[in-house]
Symmetry: C2
Amino acid sequence: MPRVKLADVARAAKVHPGTASRALSPGQSGQVSPQTVARVVRAAERLGYVPNAQARALRTARSHLVGIVVPDITNPLFPPIVRGAEHVLTAAGYTVLLTDTDNDRERERRQIESLRGRGVDGFIIATAQWEDPLLTDLASAGVPVVLANRSTSCSRWPYVGGDEQAGVRLAVQYLVGLGHRAIVHLAGPQNVSTGRDRVRAFRAAAKEFGLTTADARVTVCQAYSEAQGKAAMRRALRAPRARVTGVVAGNDLIALGALDALAEAGLDCPGDVSVVGFNDMPFVDRIQPALTTVRLPLERMGGLAADLLITELESEGTQDAPTRALLGVDLVVRGSTAPPPRQRARRR
Amino acid sequence: MPRVKLADVARAAKVHPGTASRALSPGQSGQVSPQTVARVVRAAERLGYVPNAQARALRTARSHLVGIVVPDITNPLFPPIVRGAEHVLTAAGYTVLLTDTDNDRERERRQIESLRGRGVDGFIIATAQWEDPLLTDLASAGVPVVLANRSTSCSRWPYVGGDEQAGVRLAVQYLVGLGHRAIVHLAGPQNVSTGRDRVRAFRAAAKEFGLTTADARVTVCQAYSEAQGKAAMRRALRAPRARVTGVVAGNDLIALGALDALAEAGLDCPGDVSVVGFNDMPFVDRIQPALTTVRLPLERMGGLAADLLITELESEGTQDAPTRALLGVDLVVRGSTAPPPRQRARRR
DNA sequence: AGATTCACCACAATCGGTTGCGGTCGATAG
DNA sequence: CTATCGACCGCAACCGATTGTGGTGAATCT
């Protein structure tokens, strides 16, 4: 029942525990004769030796633990990121400590503190806010951090996300190509980078494609939720001199809410109003109407974040400027977009 | 930069590290005078002391780490379970190590081994197969395990899942009540308990409601996937003397596949065939037609699994028979079910 | 006053690996 | 044949917290 420890292996191989340790550690096995290494390895396998990670971590001050912090694992955006990160981390010998902050900053602070107490080597954080004191605390404590999906105002951390700018541009371009001119952006919350980046990109794209500021309006949602999306869409429809045939939603949940609001107002999608989402959540291809949306390579995002963190952990000191990776996105055209009413799509 | 350790606190409070340890540990603080406790606590707070969990775990042989093993975190069934478990675990001072086996047994074996090396106190396992050597290995090593969502042929582990029996019965009862008699069950894989339990329940319910074996057929899918569901539905439609107006799917993914196969065959749902799913995955209320399905209290399931594990961990030895909790389920009636064609719903 | 008890705290061993240092031994050079 | 060198391995300290044991002093009892 008691686990087999290094001393047991050493005894079986008739060597000192220290020697056994060197024999089993790839880097140091040059210090030991090949025969001895073989003997120790064989004994270890025979006894089913699994090193005690706690003891090793205590001595080496490297736990090979990585904390992944997400706001809500139930939000379909995050599981693929976690999955991608976990795959590369485990392949590299790391183990992931997952924590769900429940969108609660205080809880997040406690969780991070607790994970630090557990001696994690670094964090992958998908909850970054635009101004984030928790992150600056971590930075001043010298804890390696990689940001995924959401960035901050300050670019001192490595970051991997989607190319928001390109995604929004694709959406606007597509709507304009269909003939839309009155397009509203139901923006996500402005305290996270995706929310901010997307409105900035929306304004830039509007300008690029010759939409006036009266044509291209913005309403912001307090959260990435269906309820907020519905409320925002209502506001957009009720606005004075309202005129909207196209909607670029801050994400798919907001888009779903927008669809509700449109149905409520007796408007048909895509007959009267076209809607473009963001993220390509699972099953949005099966809703009615199938949602046109921007697809992000989430799993790859998580994997790359893990790669960045690992290189940071194993380069030990050599600090170059933090990488910022923007992954390419695709516009997935489905049923929720069509030419605006009483107007044919223009030819190029 | 170096973390503040117990010795630092002890020095600041002018006591021996051992005394400081007792002062800070709630159970032992009776061994220390109240004034000293206060001094130590104050010093600890002032210095921002966070105990080194590795060292503590090494000494006490209790890591307060719990491994959660899921087949695929991307499957919407599992995030709520993980979330529920994580909430109660962190509240109790435990940290969760998440691992995604990717439905690969060999990978699962390695992951579990690795987590054991990390000294986890126990596991919550959501990947159990009907016959599961990995679990018997854990049992013989004396590792506490709680099964969630899926059980095994042998009931030696505590288990918390949904009341499959009741769920399937509700589905059959509802279809029969609408007037359906030719009902097919597109069963899930038979190497996991949910798949087996649901066909057993289907047969029992069919008998209870007076369906003949020709009326109530079963086709099994190799996996819980849309592709398998579609293939199974095709088989069911093509079967000799096929006659089917009602479908009880092994889960929602299978139901989605079934909908595809029905559309492909030119059959309308619910006009020609009614479909009932299982799990109530997010957004199945928004697909076309909105899916009637059985809802499981997944988050509660995870939470309860965590509770069981914690009591097992903290009872230390007192082994009573393992609890088996079957959580109540609901039938959520939506658009994919209607009376069968050429027949009115019978009055009760 | 002297013996005894009790509260409080210091000491040191311990958990299981890792690693700097030094010792032994055979081989090679001188 | 002896001095030198290097390969190989043993020894013991160490990481940071916990805990059994024992010692000191004051308080209590006789």
